[in-house]
């Protein structure tokens, strides 16, 4: 059963605008959440993470928001750039776990 869900398979945004990628989870034991970015024919690369004790984490153009009561997190990219076009995976981990649980991914296309 999928514990991390990304319900939007794809998203198209104009360059310069905000991209918002959403992720929901079902396991209340998850303590850490991460976003990975993947280009075709490459392995995923780490983008940003957030601990469950926080509700926001920023790194440059990327901000992750966590709403624990709703079991929801989102990744905001502002401003979006064509180079941001990739598949974005949401992932989660419990405090005692080894392996990340990944969502199915959202394919982001940023158009000029």
């Amino acid at each position: 059963d999928q514990q991390v869900k990304q319900n939007s398979p794809s998203l198209s945004v104009q360059e310069g605008r905000i991209s918002i990628l959403n992720c929901d989870y079902t396991n209340s034991m998850f303590d850490y959440f991460l976003w990975y970015k993947k280009y075709p024919a490459e392995g995923p690369t780490f983008l940003i993470s957030i601990s469950s004790i926080k509700d926001k984490n920023e790194d440059g153009r990327f901000t992750v928001f966590l709403n624990k009561s709703a079991k929801h997190l989102s990744l905001h990219i502002v401003p979006s750039q064509p180079g941001d076009s990739a598949v974005y995976f949401c992932a989660a981990l419990t405090n005692s776990g080894y392996a990340l649980n990944f969502g199915k991914g959202t394919s982001l296309l940023v158009t000029p």
């Binding site: 990304q6 991460l34 490459e42 392995g43 690369t45 780490f46 990340l100 990944f102 199915k104």
Partner: protein
């Protein structure tokens, strides 16, 4: 530059063949993982290992086995390849106390 190296970028094998996918990391990480990525299904965990000679099943271990004889090397074995094992295979490693993974570039396996 630290890295996870997967021995082949592309492989074509015949149905029924025994297939070995090799992964080597140079970061002295304790944990190593094998995932497969399929369109619409995201990243699914096949097996992972948290120590030499230790292995744990992930979500989809059927048809696969693994070997970890040395800390830096984690092998995925397809005992008898089938066409439904055509996929992108991703190896990753992580260290205790560090939440994120480092991924390899992936092996695109086609079983004909």
């Amino acid at each position: 530059d630290v890295k996870v190296t997967q021995s082949s970028r592309y492989l074509v094998k015949r149905t029924g063949e025994k297939v070995f996918l090799e992964c080597v990391q140079d970061m002295d990480h304790e944990n190593m993982f094998w995932y497969r990525q399929d369109p619409g299904l995201g990243l699914r965990l096949i097996y992972f290992s948290y120590d030499v000679k230790m292995k744990e099943k992930g979500d989809i271990p059927e048809g696969y086995s693994v070997s970890r004889e040395k800390k830096e090397r984690f092998s995925l074995i397809l005992e008898s390849a089938s066409t439904n094992q055509t996929s992108m295979y991703l190896c990753a490693s992580s260290s205790f106390g560090f939440l994120g993974y480092t991924f390899g570039s992936g092996t695109r396996l086609t079983v004909v």
